[in-house]
Structures are given as C-alpha cells and as structure tokens.
C-alpha cells in the first residue's frame, strides 16, 4: 500500500498537473488560433463591458430569465458547481496535504459541513442522470459518454466521503479516490468538461454579440 500510495500521490499527481495545465493552455491556444483564422471579425465587436455583464448574470443564481423559469435545475446546478469547487479546496484532509508538501494552508470547512456538501455532488449527478433519461429535450442530446462523465464526477466525492468516515477498507478506496480525481482532472480540458475553461469565452462572445450588435440582453 505504501508503494502504491507513493506512486499515485507522487509521479501520477505530477503527471496529472502537467496534463491538466498543458490541456488548459492547449485549449486556450486552439481557441485563439481558430478565432484568428476563422472568426477574426468577431474581434471588432468584442466588448469587455458586455462580456462582464453576461458573465455576471450567468454566474449569479437566478440571474437569467431561463434560470428563473426553471428553478429546480438552477438550484441543483448551482449547488452542484459550488460544492464541486469548494469541497476539494477547503477540505481539511486536502489542506493538510498542501501544508505537508508546500507549507501553505488556509481555512478549512468544519467536518460535518464538508460531509454534507460532499454528498451534494453525487446527489446532483443522480438528478442530472434522471433528467437526461426523463426529459425528452435533454435525452435527445444525451449519449452514453454523458452518463460516464456523471459517474466520473461523482466517484471522487463518493470515495472521498467513504475515506473520511474511515469505513472498512478505506485505504483501497483512498487509492480509487486519488486516481478518480486525477482521471477527472486529466479529462477536463479534452472533453465536454472543458466548459470550465470555455464557458467564460462563450459568455463573452454571446454577451458582446447581444449587447454590442443586437442591442439586446442575453440573460
């Protein structure tokens, strides 16, 4: 177990960081290259003001008309994304690892709060899966990979919850936890999960076109 832990927390973690950062840079570079080659005209009406206006409306819960029309999916989606980002960063066990390796630390979530919001992520994944199966307009654009991504996202959180409880065999589950987290990070820039990087540009484009060209709102 020591050797396995050393491998997954050492070289595999470094490899994950390199692939993740490299992937993010590659995606941004690809986007810039495509923009300059195919959509150069877009630059003439890109507007910082309308970009920020669009991002602000779409990042605030119920900040758009569609969010207000569909309160359940808005609530679940925002809870999911907030917990998805907060838990890995502010979990005590993770902060301790940063502290051990780099001598940096920050505030941590209280244990019961962390436990609760950890489970929000897989619960939301179940909701998204149900929605993909039941709502015709979503089922129409769903393929098996979408369900695989839901499992991929839920797995680090479920396994992490298991490890935090120190339930039997958690040492093995910890390896699953680390590897599944790495798989998620590695796949992020190259799959539809790349919306984490690209959403800001999508909104900038939409906000600019709607604001500066059509003089309309995109929210």
């Amino acid at each position: 177990m020591h050797e396995l832990y050393m491998i997954v927390s050492g070289p595999m973690m470094w490899a994950t960081c390199v692939v993740f950062s490299g992937g993010v840079i590659y995606q941004l570079g690809r986007l810039l290259r495509l923009l300059l080659r195919k959509e150069r005209s877009l630059l003439s009406y890109m507007s910082l003001r309308y970009s920020l206006r669009s991002i602000a409306h779409w990042i605030i819960p119920f900040g758009t008309l569609n969010m207000r029309r569909n309160p359940l999916i808005t609530l679940v989606s925002f809870s999911f994304h907030i917990c998805l980002l907060i838990v890995p960063v502010f979990l005590t066990a993770h902060v301790v690892l940063w502290e051990e390796a780099w001598n940096i630390s920050w505030s941590c979530l209280p244990g019961p709060v962390a436990d609760g919001i950890t489970l929000v992520v897989p619960a939301a994944c179940i909701f998204f899966a149900w929605r993909r199966l039941r709502r015709p307009e979503v089922r129409f654009v769903s393929d098996p990979a979408d369900f695989m991504f839901l499992v991929l996202v839920a797995l680090p959180f479920l396994s992490g919850f298991y490890c935090c409880r120190h339930w039997p065999g958690y040492e093995v589950v910890m390896i699953v936890h680390i590897v599944s987290g790495q798989a998620l990070l590695v796949s992020l820039p190259f799959t539809r999960l790349a919306h984490m990087i690209l959403v800001w540009f999508t909104r900038s484009y939409m906000g600019s076109e709607f604001g500066a060209v059509r003089h309309a709102r995109d929210y």
């Binding site: 177990m1 832990y5 502290e99 001598n103 490890c163």
Partner: protein, 129 residues
C-alpha cells in the same frame, strides 16, 4: 417458549459485549492534542513504548530533537519540553514547521520512508478505536 427465554440472555450478552468493548477502547494510548483549540480529527493513536520497540527506535532525538542555529544538536534532546514550544501552531518566518505539519512530516514521513506504519488519516486519527 424456549426461544422467548433466550431473548433476555441474548440482550444481556450484547450489552456485556458492548460494555466490554467500550472499556477495552480506553487502553489505546493517544497523543495529547490539548494545544489544538478545535481539533479537526481525534487525537492520533500512539503508544510510545510499543511504537518505538516495534519500529526499533532507540534514539530519542529522532522525535525529541533540538535545533540550534539551524543545525540538529548532537547532544541535546527535548523530552522535557512540549513540541509546541518550538513548533508553534501558526506558521511564520520564525516558525517554518508549524505543529500540525511537524507531526505529519515526522510521523507520516517516517512511515513512508520505512514503508511501514499508517500513512492515511484514519490510520492514526482513528474514529472508532
């Protein structure tokens, strides 16, 4: 009839077992964590003598070291002083290795080097034992 008569016996056996287990838990030595105001985890399981015998540690300075002018003292050890005296709770320029980090680097670091001993949270900060 016979099975009904067995119920109080079974209940008594379960109660006795639970009591025995709860008293047995008291035997596990743990590190004193009184300096941490709101510890996030239960204190680490640590039976000093049993641990050192198993690990073959004779040199007290491995844990109870003294650093003088940035160098490990060859002759002095610090068993008579609490760890927090040198390893303060919060990291700073003067306190490069804060207490929590010092414990983790010392314990987990050694366990990883020797490929023996707990390396994950629950191995030391056990909730159930």
């Amino acid at each position: 009839m016979m099975s009904k008569a067995l119920i109080p016996l079974a209940v008594s056996a379960i109660v006795f077992f639970c009591l025995a287990m709860s008293f047995a838990q008291e035997d596990h030595a743990r590190l004193d964590n009184y300096v941490f105001e709101k510890p996030a985890m239960p204190p680490a399981l640590f039976d000093h003598d049993a641990h050192n015998e198993k690990a073959g540690i004779d040199d007290c300075a491995i844990c109870h070291h003294v650093i003088e002018n940035g160098k490990l003292s060859e002759f002095e050890t610090s068993e008579d002083r609490p760890c927090v005296e040198c390893h303060g709770l919060s990291p700073s320029a003067e306190n490069a290795i804060a207490l929590r980090r010092a414990y983790h680097l010392r314990c987990k670091g050694c366990h990883l080097d020797r490929e023996s001993g707990p390396i994950m949270c629950g191995g030391c900060h056990s909730r159930g034992v």
